[in-house]
Every structure is written in structure tokens, then in C-alpha cells.
Symmetry: C2
Subunit: 208 residues, 2 copies
DNA sequence: GGATTTTTATAGTGACCACTAAAGAACTTA
DNA sequence: TAAGTTCTTTAGTGGTCACTATAAAAATCC
């Protein structure tokens, strides 16, 4: 009776109801993929963890790669959200510093989910569908970054974006190799120093 | 009669002679692994390219992982040789600049062998033998770098090494994603700027 | 030439991979 | 209750993985 979802809430769907929750499944899948990597998580392990038999999984998600694509979208929406970092009016160097330092913290925070799910997926077996999905997300985020920087620094937006993208890949790789948060933060700090010279080559006020 | 190898040159080994050359096999394997990655190169593709049937391959090399380990050693000896970069008396910042810029060039030079074979292998399936071999090589190179920097900058050798290691991973990842040499070199340049501040925080002579 | 040694080729091994055909079970609609 | 719809279960599919048992072939040793 309240004004929740207007459609498909009262009226139940026709057939046998699904025995598992999609959101829970995506969450479990995200955890598995982030811990072990897309290729390492076999369908058997995946369906076991989800408490779902393969045919149900395929009925619901189509394929392992499509399921992964949903997981990637979900992850990209919830982690290092660019809308919270690329704030209007914020100096690019400050935004990039925030991004790199947040990444350093995020990538090392949970010892079982090190690095970035998207950036690590980008390096999977090269002509796999999962890699295409991950690249699409990574690319769109890089476009966002480049356009943000280009608002104030059009001449070096491309270079700065390349540098940030490369640094994020490096941070993710280092996190996966076991580098802890403190070390990653120092790496990010040095990276920001380089970026500061690129984005503000003159007129730095040395305050320390 | 000349003073070549003193042992096992005149006297031939007893059984049926090997029908392929080990060095050629390692070279072919290196090319395959570097192009497609360790996991992507199946044993069938590998033995086909080598012109060798599986039993011969296993007689000669033991396993795919052991073969890969030989390939890694060979690669590490021939690419970005640290002995040519960490020259005695050279300022660490100059050595690291040379390393990062050489890496940028090397990683993008051959479009079919992008990135670093070792660093990409480090990010394989986590408890695979191939990853252990790659990590061992990467670790020993990082120790070399850290000890070189520590000679003149003991207080920040660890941080600088972390930064260089992370940057190299980023460059390798970016190269594999298709970033060309010019762009990678600009990334390396910005990275060096950051490193310069870490290693020479005061007394920089600004010459441009 | 015959014995010994080593590598070769033939032809598979079982294990795992992502995925599915067929039929039963649980629900809504009429 | 019967029909229709959708999901779940059982039990597999063919394909690929790294790897190997067996025996023939090619060399040296005596």
C-alpha cells in the first residue's frame, strides 16, 4: 500500500520462485572473484559458494562471463566512486591525489581482496570476454578522469591520465603482491609529487 | 683439438641424440609466453611450436612450469640488465631514471611482446608454480635496486624501491593494454619527477 | 653384431573446464 | 483441479588441461 516499487511488487511472477537472491549472489561472486581472480574461480566453486546448481545459475545469469560483468558493474559503482572524487571546481592535482591515496588504502584494506577487481581482470587471458568487460569499465573511468583534468589543464590531460592510470595499475599490482597500506600510501605520495610537477610546473608554494 | 670445452665435446653422449636444440626451444617458448602469457600457452601449442612431442618435452624439461622457469631466467639475464644500469658511483635518481625509461621503451618496443615477462607472470594464478618462479626473480631484482639506493640514500631506499617496483608494474600493465612507447616514456618521465623529489628533497638545481 | 642407453613417437590417462538436455517441483492463472 | 509457466535437480556433454605408459628408433660401447 505504501509507494514502494509501483510495478512487480504486488503481482508475483508466474512460475516457480527463484530460490536465491540475485544481490547476495553478486556479492558472493564479487568476493570470490576479487580474492582469486576470474580464471581461478571455476563454475563448480562459484555455484557451490552461491548454493545454486549450474542450470539455475545459467538460467539467471546466462554465462560465467555475463555474471562477472554484473559483478564488475556493481564493484565499479561501489568502490573509488569517481563522482565523489572529481568534484566540480576541485584542482585536478588534488582530485588525483585523493584518487591515488584512496586507491592505496582501498587496495590494501582487506587482505583477502587485494588490488582492484577491474584492473586485475583487465590482465586476464587476452581474448576472454571477461577482459573486454573489464577494459570497458577501466576505459570509461579513464575518459572521466581525462575530461575532468582537461577542464583546467587541456594540454596535459592525456599525459596526466596516462600517468594516473599506470600508477593505479601499479598500486593494484603491488597490493596483490602483498604490499601493505602504509607502503602503498608512500608510493601514492611519491606519485602525487610527480603529478604535481606535471600539472603545476611553476608557482608551487613550498610549505614544508 | 682447440681449447674449447674440455669435457663432453669430443665424447658424444650414449643414447639416441636429442632431435631439437634446447636454446632454440627456450627462445621459442619465451616468445610464446611473452606474447600470450603462461596460462594461455597450452602444452599442445607449446610442443607444436617447438616441433617436439610431449614426451620429449617432459624428458628434457620436466614440466611446463620448469620450462617456464628456464625461460624466465633467460629473459631476466637478457632484458633490462641491472648490472648495466646500477653502475657504481651513479646517482640513484639517475640510475632509476635510466631504468624506468629503458623499461618504457623495452615494454612497448615489440608489439607482440608487450610488457615485462616476469612482472606479468607474477600476476598469474596465485598458487601456481610459475608465479613463484617469477616472484623469486622480481624479488631478487628489487633487492638489488634497494641495496644500490641504500648506498647513498639508506633512509629512503625502501620507499624508493617500492615506488620503482610499483611504477614498473604499472608500465608493464599499461604496455600490455596497448600504450605506445611515447606515452609510456611520458609516464616514466613523470614518475622520475616524483622520484627526484624523494631522493633529492632539497638542493635541486632547476636547469630548465 | 649384440647389449646398453637415451630419445623418440603413438596413443592415450584422469581431472577439470564451462555448459546443458530432460524431467520433476513449485508456483499462478483460469 | 487442470493448465501453463518458471525454476530446480539429476546427470551428464564434449573439450581441453598437463602429463605419461609403452615400445620403437637411433645412437654408443664392447
Amino acid at each position: 500500500m505504501t509507494t514502494k516499487e509501483l510495478k512487480q511488487v504486488e503481482r508475483k511472477p508466474r512460475g516457480r520462485p527463484r530460490a536465491f537472491d540475485t544481490e547476495t549472489a553478486l556479492d558472493t561472486g564479487q568476493r570470490l572473484f576479487h580474492t582469486s581472480g576470474y580464471e581461478s574461480v571455476g563454475l563448480a566453486a562459484l555455484t557451490d559458494a552461491l548454493g545454486v546448481k549450474p542450470p539455475s545459475f545459467y538460467k539467471a545469469f546466462g554465462s560465467k562471463a555475463e555474471f562477472f560483468s554484473l559483478v564488475l558493474d556493481r564493484y565499479a559503482r561501489s568502490v573509488l566512486t569517481l563522482d565523489d572524487i572529481l568534484l566540480p571546481g576541485r584542482a585536478p592535482v588534488d582530485a588525483m591525489a585523493a584518487l591515488l591515496e584512496s586507491a592505496a588504502s582501498t587496495y590494501a584494506r582487506d587482505p583477502h581482496q587485494r588490488g582492484c577487481l577491474v584492473l586485475e581482470a583487465v590482465r586476464g587471458l587476452q581474448d576472454d570476454e571477461s577482459v573486454l568487460y573489464a577494459r570497458k569499465i577501466a576505459d570509461s573511468r579513464r575518459v572521466q578522469i581525462r575530461e575532468f583534468i582537461a577542464q583546467t589543464h587541456p594540454e596535459c590531460a592525456a599525459a596526466a591520465t596516462d600517468y594516473v592510470a599506470s600508477t593505479l595499475s601499479g598500486l593494484s599490482a603491488s597490493a596483490r603482491e602483498g604490499m601493505n597500506e602504509a607502503r602503498l600510501l608512500r608510493v601514492a605520495e611519491v606519485a602525487v609529487a610527480g603529478l604535481r610537477q606535471l600539472l603545476q610546473p611553476e608557482g608551487r608554494d613550498v610549505t614544508d
